[in-house]
Amino acid sequence: METIKTRYSWKTGDRIIRVNGLNSLIDGRQILTDISMEARMGEITAILGSSGSGKTTLLKHLLGIYPSAGREVEVLGRNPSELEEIDEVQFYQDIGVLYQEGALLNSLTVGENIGLPLEQHSKLPADLIERIVRLRLQLVGLGDVYHSLPSQLSAGMLKRAALARAIVMDPVVLFCDEPGAGLDPVTLSQLDRLILNLQKLLGMTVIMVTHEVNSIRRMADRVVFLDKGQAIFRGTLAEALKSPLPSLQEFFARGDAK
């Protein structure tokens, strides 16, 4: 019988995400072709590419939102789209996701949003949940927004609140979908530093989907570069910056020019 590793079994440097020859066909369109990649425990892996290159589709496969078969996708040793309900709950407690638009539930306050996973998956009393949520809000540098509605926050604050929700269960892996989207360069730089600090503090692995070159330079250990649905480069950031691949060079040059 195959044993499933718990969050404590993973050691720094372990390959906790593997994608093996993933093909993605959505509404009859081939979005991803034969994608292979891996990410290691404790590192920040950036999935890069221009708009329409398939970054978000790949992320959705990693999160189990889009299906994949067998060992095409393995996150923490499991295929996220083929989980039984009980494993699914455990799996999603081990990961956190920072969505592009924040994706906080508009009908709940910021505090309720951040406390939602704890409220649903733990038996902690309400006052303890509130204390944990307030601590997380402090960690992401947000003051007294516990009772505010998401619609009352600025774009930068919304991202921070969404980040607080993503880390509330102490995830092993934090997925970030275009964290810089809609932010000015100063706020983006602050958010990047915040993610870096949290990654060190909580010992998380970070998978970041982005096309922000400055963020990549600041944060990434490893890089996967997608072009027209294919992973045409995999390696360290230093290797990526020296790569002779024209599309990768153009990507970095275009980002620097911005």
């Binding site: 996701v97 638009e101 539930l105």
Partner: protein, 207 residues
């Protein structure tokens, strides 16, 4: 859910009860069968018009809001966020709406019945010289428990169809703000059609 629809449901039902009785009054008077206005209004409202009017209004009001809310959640990745927090979007979003609907719909239907009958009573009193007391006495004789139960059962079937249709179209919304408008329109049209279809089928089955 649906509580805010009480005023419009009550007002519309009263008017429909009024019109229904008014249209029948002239015919019944020529036949000298004035008293049957009570049977006609009460049975029609309890077993047919009350549940149907309520369902159509709730489909337009609550069904559209369910579709729009879920579609917006879909467009802004909130449903994905629920899934990646280990929560089932259907259980988290749809089930509470269904529970709310099941709790409120019978009460709204009874309100519609009462207001419709009240409309009939007004016409009976003003056009057919049937006093409210006579109207109520006759109503006691003509109203059967099965008519009341049938109306409530229908209302539960209707709310089930409305919530499921609104949710189905909400979850189908693709990216983009225009998608919300499209699925909302589709949800209302389809749920009203399904309500009328279900009403016909149940009418045929339990006639």
């Amino acid at each position: 859910m649906g509580v805010k629809a009480a005023f419009i449901v009550g007002a519309m039902s009263f008017i429909i009860g009024l019109v229904l009785a008014l249209q029948s009054a002239a015919q019944l008077r020529t036949l000298g069968a004035n008293i049957y206005i009570v049977d006609l209004t009460v049975i029609a409202m309890m077993s047919e018009m009350g549940p149907l009017i309520t369902a159509i209004l709730v489909a337009g009001r609550t069904g559209s809001s369910i579709a729009a809310e879920i579609a917006t959640m879909n467009v802004t990745s909130e449903t994905d966020a629920l899934k990646t927090m280990g929560l089932r979007p259907i259980r988290f979003v749809v089930v509470p709406k269904m529970h709310g609907g099941i709790l409120t719909m019978p009460f709204l239907t009874i309100l519609a019945d009462v207001m419709g009958i009240l409309g009939g009573l007004v016409i009976a009193a003003t056009y057919l010289d049937i006093s409210p007391l006579v109207f109520l006495n006759r109503m006691e004789q003509s109203l059967l428990l099965k008519d009341i139960v049938f109306g409530i059962v229908k209302s539960l079937v209707f709310i089930y169809l409305i919530v499921i249709t609104g949710s189905y179209f909400g979850f189908r919304a693709e990216k983009g703000a225009s998608a919300v408008g499209k699925v909302t329109t589709s949800a209302v049209v389809v749920s009203i059609s399904l309500v009328i279809l279900a009403d016909s089928v149940m009418g045929l089955l339990f006639y």
